[in-house]
Amino acid sequence: MFNFLAISNPALMIAGAGLSIYGSMQAGKAEQQRQRSIAAQQEQNAKFEELSAIQAHNERQSRLASLMNVNEAVRAKSNRGSNDRSLAALTKAEKKKSATSDGRARTQSMLTTSRMRYAASDARASGNQAMRSALFKSVGTAINFSDAYGQI
């Protein structure tokens, strides 16, 4: 059976330094993966936000079309001509109102999506930074080891 106590100190130092570097790299890698996961989720959320904005727009357009159709029916029933100016004004106002809401909803959706994409980007950067940090730490460990080994 192998006797661990018989391992010389320099060998133990080498093993320790290796473990330290490996651990550091593993920690960096794990952090990078974690941040990537967060970024992916943020990207997905941004897409959902876009989808949600399109769906809300469609809904508003649908409701505006319904309103126009109803008003058209009401105009026809009330025998009012297509050049009925009050009706035309009413329809114009409704369209303008709808356009304003669409504009506001689109802006809000763009801001939210943008923020989510930023969060995703930030998570990716954070993961990369953790990886670089692990690398530098490993280099520091290697330098320390080298100095100590030189003493003995």
């Binding site: 100190n9 133990l12 920690a27 794990a30 993966q33 939210t112 100590a148």
Partner: protein
């Protein structure tokens, strides 16, 4: 009916939030990293310790010198780690430093011997040595060599300066001290040889001068003297001076004409010296006889000698002690002279056939060199050898006189000493001595008479027993005889052995009392039987019944005798006839006792007045109560009359004193003759000178 329309809330797909991924992987990696770091650091620390120890070991084993003792400068061994080097180097430096220090110190010691009391010479020589050493030293240690050299040079140069000064001072102290001691001794001898000691004398001036020199010594060299040394020096001088004064007085005293008398001169001188001692002891002459003071003054004594001006009480006490030694010497000489004269007187008395006391016999024997029983035992063979002319005087004292034997001879006959004599084969000689000292042929040829010579009855019985044993068929040597006696004394079967030896009378066991009564004469008194009972058991055990009987009969006739003066018819140990065997002594005793009776009334000793002995006083010098025919004490006034050998002792003393006075007279005549002879030589008397010349020429 209006058309129904679906009423519903619009539904949109919205962001579903973010699930935070686990950090377990990160933590695992971090843990692994920390473990590795700790492992590396721990291994490093351990290796540091290992390397440090390696450095110490290397330093310990590092040789700074070659086999011939020279310092050799070497680097650290190759292959050592930095840590080991860092640990080893200071230690090796220290070794080199110590080696350098030792070499340089040794050189300093050597040079100090060469330049003793010459600090400058030492400094020059040592500086050259340090320079040379620094040149030869490795670069690393060059500065070290110079520093060490400077330090040692400084120390030694300073010490040499101090030694030089101290040596000169010490020599001066020694010279002064020795001069005082020598001068004190010279002064003592000067005074003891008779130098005048008045205030204006040279001796006194020298004494005062020495006291001043002591003061000067203390002033100059007080630090070299202990607290008591200075005081002791003064005290010693004073006592030497005082002792010399006393010696001078004693010397002059003994040369005064008053102390030249050969018979009494020393006695008188001892008395006056005792007066001198008292004068010094008390510091006064008030208690002394005027004649003593006059003798002392004639010998140079003055009261100033014992005054506080010269000596305090302690000094006087010490000087008085010295004088008492002189006095004791005188007393010893005096006692020796007295003993010698007494011995001469005793010799004369014995030669005239008188008896003398045991004290006188002791003194006479001591004068002949026999002072204890050991020396007597050692020379017993020579003394009893008739062919030895040298011991004839002692032999005559023992065998041809009847006085009490001296103690050393009496002690020879104790049981212990008899046993020792038996072990050395001398017992037969001692028995011959006993026989010849105690047995006297009657002048009318009627037989042998026994004189006790002061020996106790126990000794007589013991010696008679031994004599009987010698004359019987001896079963064993005397040595075995005493061994057997000691064994029987301790034997638990003693009673059974005794009964076996006594035997049976028919079917009845013979008792020791019956045996004693059978052996004694029919007229033996109960006292006699009781006396012999104490020896009978041992005698029967040792010699058997028959021989024990013979011994008892022999002893009985010697220890118990009939007396004309003792009350009653029974024989007694205390008979005056036995105590005073010399007719002259017996006559003195009878005359003295009769004189006592004449004072008490009309009594006659042995007719109507008799003696009853007091056993407490023993048989050698017995004391008796004088009684009438009815055993009633005869009184002189209210006191009963007692008779003793005191008159005999006094008569012996008178004879001795008379003889001593005759001796003194002869000594004085001889002294006068010598003085006259000396005067004739001084005057140049031709006849005397012619006589001396003829004596010198042998015709």
């Amino acid at each position: 009916m209006a058309i129904k329309r679906l009423q519903s809330q619009p539904v949109f797909n919205k962001p579903i939030g973010v699930v935070q991924p686990s950090t377990a992987g990160v933590r695992a990696g971090q843990e692994l990293e920390q473990l590795g770091t700790r492992m590396m650091q721990q291994a490093f620390q351990q290796e540091v310790e290992v390397q440090k120890q390696k450095g110490v070991d290397v330093a310990n084993n590092f040789q700074t010198r070659t086999t011939d003792g020279r310092i050799e400068y070497r680097s650290l061994p190759q292959g050592l780690s930095k840590i080991a080097q860092k640990e080893a180097q200071p230690l090796i430096d220290k070794k080199y430093s110590a080696a350098l220090f030792k070499d340089m110190k040794n050189e300093a010691v050597r040079l100090r011997a060469d330049f003793d009391k010459d600090p400058d010479g030492f400094d020059n020589a040592y500086s050259a040595y340090v320079k040379k050493t620094a040149e030869l030293t490795d670069e690393r240690y060059k500065a070290m060599a110079i520093d060490i050299g400077a330090e040692i040079a400084g120390e030694n140069t300073a010490a040499l300066y101090a030694d030089k000064v101290d040596a000169e001072d010490a020599q001066d102290f020694k010279d002064m001290y020795d001069r005082i001691i020598e001068s004190s001794d010279d002064l003592e001898a000067f005074i003891s040889n008779g130098a005048p000691v008045s205030d204006s004398s040279v001796a006194h001036a020298s004494y005062k001068n020495l006291l001043r020199e002591i003061d000067e010594l203390i002033d100059v060299h007080g630090d070299r003297m202990s607290v008591t040394q200075a005081t002791n020096l003064r005290t010693t001088l004073k006592r030497q001076y005082g002792g010399a004064l006393a010696n001078s007085v004693v010397k002059k005293l003994t040369s005064l004409s008053a102390f030249q008398d050969p018979a009494m001169g020393e006695e008188l001188a001892a008395n006056v010296i005792n007066g001198l001692e008292q004068a010094f002891r008390t510091g006064s002459v008030d208690g002394l006889e005027p004649s003593v003071v006059k003798y002392l003054t004639d010998a140079g004594f003055s009261e100033r000698m014992i005054s506080s001006e010269l000596f305090d009480a302690e000094d006087r006490r010490i000087i008085a002690g010295d004088i008492s030694v002189l006095e004791n010497n005188f007393q010893e000489r005096l006692q020796a002279t007295r003993d010698s004269r007494r011995a001469d007187a005793t010799q004369i008395l014995l030669s005239q056939g008188y008896l003398v006391s045991q004290d006188d016999m002791d003194n006479l024997f001591a004068k002949n060199g026999i002072k204890d029983v050991e020396s007597f035992m050692n020379s017993l063979g020579n003394i009893m050898n008739p062919a030895n002319a040298e011991t004839k005087p002692i032999r005559n004292l023992l065998l041809h006189t009847n006085s009490d034997l001296p103690k050393v001879v009496q002690n020879l006959f104790t049981s212990d000493n008899l046993e020792r004599l038996a072990n050395t084969g001398q017992l037969p000689i001692a028995m011959d001595l006993y026989q010849q000292t105690t047995k006297r042929l009657n002048k009318d040829g009627s037989g042998v008479n026994t004189v006790t010579r002061g020996l106790s009855d126990n000794v007589i019985v013991e010696m008679e027993a031994l004599d009987a044993y010698r004359n019987s068929v001896k079963q064993a040597s005397f040595q075995e005889y005493f061994q057997l006696r000691n064994e029987l004394a301790r034997n638990p079967q003693r009673k059974e052995i005794l009964n076996a030896k006594l035997g049976m009378d028919g079917d009845k066991q013979i008792k020791i009392a019956d045996f004693v009564n059978d052996q004694l004469d029919s007229d033996a008194s109960p006292e006699e039987a009781a006396y012999y009972m104490q020896y009978a058991e041992d005698l029967v055990l040792m010699h058997g019944k028959e021989l024990a009987g013979e011994i008892l009969k022999q002893s009985s006739n010697k220890v118990f005798v009939k007396s004309s003066f003792i009350m009653g018819e029974a024989r007694t140990r205390f008979a005056p006839e036995k105590a005073f065997p010399m007719a002259s002594d017996m006559a003195v005793f009878k005359t003295h006792t009769q004189g006592l009776l004449d004072m008490a009334g009309n009594y006659t000793l042995g007719k109507d007045a008799f003696l009853i002995p007091d056993p407490r006083h023993g048989t050698v010098n017995p004391v008796y109560m004088i009684v009438d025919e009815n055993k009633m004490p005869i009184m002189a006034g209210s006191e009963p009359l007692l008779a003793s050998g005191q008159a005999v002792v006094e008569q012996r003393m008178r004879l001795k004193n008379q003889t001593t006075e005759q001796l003194r007279k002869k000594m004085r005549e001889e002294q006068q003759r010598r003085l006259k002879f000396g005067r004739k030589i001084d005057e140049g008397d031709p006849q005397t000178i012619d006589d001396i010349a003829r004596t010198a020429r042998g015709y």
